[in-house]
Amino acid sequence: MIKVGLIGAGMIARKGHLPALKRMSGVEVVAVVDVNEKVAERVAREFSISKYYTDLDEMLKGEDVDALIVCTPTPTHYDIVMKCVNEGRSVLVEKPLCIKYEEALDIAKAAEEQGVQVCVVYNYRYFPAVVRAYRRVIKGYLGRVLTLNGTIFSHFPVAWTRATWLYHEGGVLYDFLPHMVDMIVWFSGGKPCKVVSFGGDYLPSGGFTNHAQIMVEFDNGVLSSISTSWLMGTQIFNLNVHGTAGHIFLDVRYNFMKEIHGTPTPLDDAISFAQYMVNVVKGVLSGYLFVGALAHYPIILRKFMLSLRRKGRYPVTAREELDRVFILDAALTSIKSGGRMISREEYERH
């Protein structure tokens, strides 16, 4: 039996992790921690968890847990994950692992020294259309992938949280963008080595990044650009994968993939429109479209538990997360410096 403790009892814990954990065999959630006692108590009662705490140290002292799941705000991740790792516990943490590259490096080193797993949740990569697209890419159906163009727009997160921690300096870069960054790193098959970014605060007086354009060069020659914003009138999560032999368009939110080779004919467009509609109808009827990426928590948790039993490999570990955190951190640094190119070497030198 794997004993798990959950840190941060907010929305993602209640709607993503805990329902999936409760359905898993061989896993027991022994305690929940939240700084808000009422929330901790309510969630413990709702999911029949025997103990709740408001202090992480007390929980680590009082409970013999094998792993911890961290669902707290991103700026708190570094301290919490380091504490758990130094106590010899494995950790599954919501994306992104942390804010700064050097923090990610610290965590990766500490995890390796302690011999524990630190894994990061990227639930959008499990949409069937994304998995299918990735398989097509690695099998070579697009030839050599040269360009990845992503667009990820969401409204301000006020619709789902009244918490204000997201409006720190990095702002939109640390909200949904990490999912897109994960996809471009994954699809590129390379290591990001240069980042240039423009954008920043497009409000009269926001004080945080709310709109940005990021360009990334990978060591294998793949080029990528991502547009991200909290200011747009529509919600979009699209990725275009361009290769020498074809192109894949991914609409992640609608779990839709379109593959194009050569010049599309009107018949291709008609077929793809029909496929899109079938996909939407299937998504609505199955309820999948409404649940969205929350539907993937059982897969994520299963992979994490298997990796703890040394029976499988979790896809994004702390070491791999360095690539993603580098892009996020470098994007913010580049924006702050007026669009200076940031190289991986520069980060690694420091």
């Binding site: 409204h155 301000f156 006020v158 619709a159 009244r162 409000l203 009269p204 926001g206 009138g233």
Partner: protein, 277 residues
């Protein structure tokens, strides 16, 4: 108020240029003779419309230039009077942040006006003969204050339109205002019975149309400012501009029935805009 014909001032204005808007607002206020009426009040409170985290160009929220033009006029006439701009927190409204993000804070500072988060101030209970409430909690700052409501001209997926009457929904002293969505039209009337605006200025320079209003609809450059002292008549005209029969909008009909104003109006000023919402 059966039989009464309320006067509504329509001014065509196509851009958010401070001087032009000041001129338009002066025209509205002079015609309605409201400046004299304000003199006997201790304070003036302006209810903004900050219903979501959307920039003013989307037509979702009160445009800061409208507030600035209004404050400019008020400060010239009343250099010493307490003037407040207000909005209340709700599910999707972090009012204290929006005031800063969208540039209102600086304007308020410039004209020495106060910011009031309606959910964070003292409340009083008012007895009303409402459709849903017989007693309702309202922010105490409205007591003894001249009340200007400053909404946008928008479609609303729940209530049909959002204009003068609906803007007071944001004055409800609860955070989760959607708890009343089943009786929203009745509650809109009730809150207006408790705190009825003295002056309504609807900003339709860029309004909002489509079925995703009041937050995610289509910006409609209707190019109009609408002013009046009767919120029912003002909203009846707004409904007409958007393309509804005012009697088909439940809260307008209920408000007229409750005596909050008249469905009959006479338009003075510029001709009504003809736009597709």
């Amino acid at each position: 108020m059966k039989g009464i014909i309320s006067e509504i001032v329509v001014v065509r204005q196509h851009s958010y240029i401070l001087e032009k808007i000041s001129h338009a607002l002066r025209k509205i206020m002079n015609f309605l003779g409201v400046i004299d009426e304000m003199k006997i009040f201790d304070s003036i409170i302006i209810k903004l419309n900050l219903c979501d985290a959307r920039t003013p160009d989307t037509g979702t929220i009160t445009h800061p230039v409208i507030l600035e033009a209004l404050l400019k006029i008020l400060r010239e006439v009343f250099p010493e009077k307490r003037i407040m701009a207000a909005e209340g927190d709700s599910g999707s409204v972090l009012a204290d942040l929006y005031i800063k993000w969208f540039g209102f804070e600086e304007i308020l500072r410039k004209y020495d006006a106060e910011w009031v988060n309606l959910l964070k101030v003292k409340r009083i209970k008012k007895r009303i003969d409402g459709y849903y409430f017989k007693e309702i909690e309202v922010p105490a700052v409205f007591e003894g204050a001249y009340f200007i409501t400053l909404p946008k001209l928008k479609t609303n997926i729940v209530t049909g339109i959002t204009a003068s009457l609906k803007n007071q929904y944001g004055c409800l002293c609860v955070l989760k205002k959607n708890v009343y969505h089943d009786v929203v039209d009745e509650v809109i009337v009730d809150i207006n019975l408790a705190i009825k605006p003295h002056l309504c200025i609807v900003d339709g320079i860029v309004g909002m149309g489509g079925v995703q209003g009041p937050a995610f609809g289509i910006p409609i450059p209707a190019g109009v400012l609408i002013g009046g002292k009767d919120p029912v008549a003002v909203d009846a005209l707004c409904a007409r501009i958007i393309g509804f029969n005012p009697r088909s909008i439940k809260h307008i009909k209920l408000a007229a029935k409750a005596g909050l104003g008249s469905l009959k109006y006479r338009v003075v000023g510029d001709p009504m805009p003809r736009v597709n919402f």
